[in-house]
């Protein structure tokens, strides 16, 4: 494996849980991989399947989607919709022969700073094993 490979993981985090969880990882001074690029959305359900594709085809080595735990959605049921849409995109990825492991959905609450850091590190390792996004700079959306 190329030692220079630095994974880049576009992370869509919901404002109420996962983004705040990432904040908590910060205030707790937890060190985690620099690969994570956190972007805020109001609700994970705002992340429509096209976003995941877009982030992937723009060259992300991994795409992380973070939402509130099922039942805890700030908007009641948003994350249930997210979960279904995410499963759909995964399937589309597989049927297109793309690596669906490059997409990850994780429920991280506002109080789970350590979990955020752990997910960030573990997912970075997974992506490191997968290597660089093969579509990078060859497909444009």
């Amino acid at each position: 494996m190329n030692k220079e490979f630095k994974p880049r993981i576009t992370s869509f985090l919901c404002k109420w849980c996962s983004y705040t969880g990432a904040d908590l990882a910060g205030t707790s001074r937890l060190q985690y991989s620099t690969s994570i690029i956190p972007l805020q959305v109001m609700c994970s359900s705002r992340v429509d399947p096209v976003f995941l594709l877009k982030a992937y085809l723009s060259g992300s080595d991994g795409v992380l989607l973070g939402g509130c735990h099922p039942g805890d959605c700030h908007y009641e049921t948003g994350n249930y919709h997210t979960r279904r849409r995410f499963a759909l995109v995964k399937e589309v990825f597989e049927s297109l022969g793309l690596e669906s492991e490059r997409l990850k959905l994780s429920w991280i609450s506002a109080s789970e700073g350590p979990k955020f850091a752990r997910v960030a590190n573990e997912y970075t390792e997974e992506i490191r094993k997968l290597g660089e996004n093969p579509t990078r700079k060859s497909i444009f959306l």
């Binding site: 910060g26 937890l30 690029i37 805020q40 109001m42 705002r46 429509d48 700030h74 009641e76």
Partner: protein, 561 residues
Amino acid sequence: MKAKVGVYVCECGPNIAGKTDLDEIITYLSEFRGFGDVELVVRKYGFLCSNQGKEYLEKEIRDLGLTHLVVGACSPRDHDSTFKDVCGKTQLNPYLYKIINIREHCTWVIDDMDKATEKAKSYLRAGIARVLYQSELFESPIDVNPDVLVIGGGVAGMEAALALAGENRSVTIVEKNDTLGGRAGKLRGFSFQEFNKPEQVEKLIETILGNPCINVFLDSEVTSVIGFLGNFEIEHVSLESKVITELFCGSIITATGADLYETTEESGFKYSESDDVYNSMEITEMLSSGDEITLRSGKEPETIAIVHCVGREELGYCSGVCCTVMMKTANMIKARYPDIRITQFYRDICLPPSGGQELYAAARSSGVNFVKVQSTGLSGTTVKFKEKNGDEGEQFFDMVLLASALVPSKDTPALSELLGIPVDETGFFQEAHRMTNPSATTTDGVFIVGTSQGPRNISDSMLFARASAGQILTKLLVGEKLVPEVAVTEILEAYCTGCGNCLDVCVYGAIYPDEARGISIVNEAICRGCGNCYGSCPSGALRTKHFTNIQLFREVDEALR
């Protein structure tokens, strides 16, 4: 006009300045040519959130004629609104600004200065790219009606009404029964832990009826609710005369109470109306009225069984109040009739309120017998039970008292529909958030108090009533306008096919069909801007302002550059 983006990085003392090479960032961004002919002004400052910092920023925005602003600092939770307010004082629309969370997401989580600097650079680049695609949004304050509707005139409803009337709010109580007071009214002082005078509820009712700010409609039901926080249109009907009354208010408190679980033969409770079996309501009514405790035959009972947790297994939750009521009942009976032998069949004893343990201790010391069981049933007044060790037994009593669980009142499903507030898995109204916002609901302006929200005792019900009143008093101020969320979703009508997917996913009911035109319409006053509907739209007809595709796409692209 050529865009001129101000990028200001806060040093945040050593928090950012000590962990990144700020000069390197400034040089890099100043020389960055990825945004075409956009002019970038990149500077740093000690503490931007300080008064001097805010004044500095305000002056910079004005003097340099900035068209967009990016602040690299802390979490938006800390200071997003601070810098939004700074923009508000200048020519710059606050929605053309973005805060980038360098501190929590870079410097506090990356010890390596080079790496932190690199991440901060790409993070700031992404922010600049995004802000260039943000559009001006204008907050348009709307007039609000400060009046309040209270549905249900039990203690919770009355307490809320009184708290609001105390601040000169106009309150209307719509009660379906012919008296105020609800369940507690029937108990009279029985369940009040703090005040034991039986006339307490009567006093509350008198105060309510004598208060010029409070309007009471008895024998009435709410039949129609239209509108949103600040502007509700209500219709309620008199059950007797069928006269419909219209009412306008800004918020609604639901205080419709709960019912008692009714036993079934299938669950092992077999008795008839002629048997001396009473539920907690009936016995407490009997006790608080001061009547003799007698059997239907007219004789005084010699033995009484108290059966706990009736309905708990079927319902799947503990009501949390019955144990206390039954301890009190046992103690009151023992005080008046020391010779009556009382046996309590219990699974767990749950005594959360202060003073609960003392009631239990008093029952124990007055000779009340306690039998721990796994399950119970009834055949007439014979209690059948399975003991902890598995032994089954049965015992005849003169009288049986059932500690029945509290269940949602019959009106709950209809009201849930009418008010657009969901119920939880137990069937009671669901709060906006169990821990952080327990008296509000997902519909802004609609509150739930008392046992309509789940089993709770009188003092807690009153506490929640005051909490809701407090929220209303601080949320809807007389004479002040309300600023609705502006970063909401809009429909691009030309793209909308009227499929209705978005209607189904919106929990707030903010989208409704325009059947004549075959499209969906967003009520922006109700929309919270979550964007779920966007994810459901097959034709891309929805646009969540301030979270548009192009904004997020540009952010992604630039972060990955």
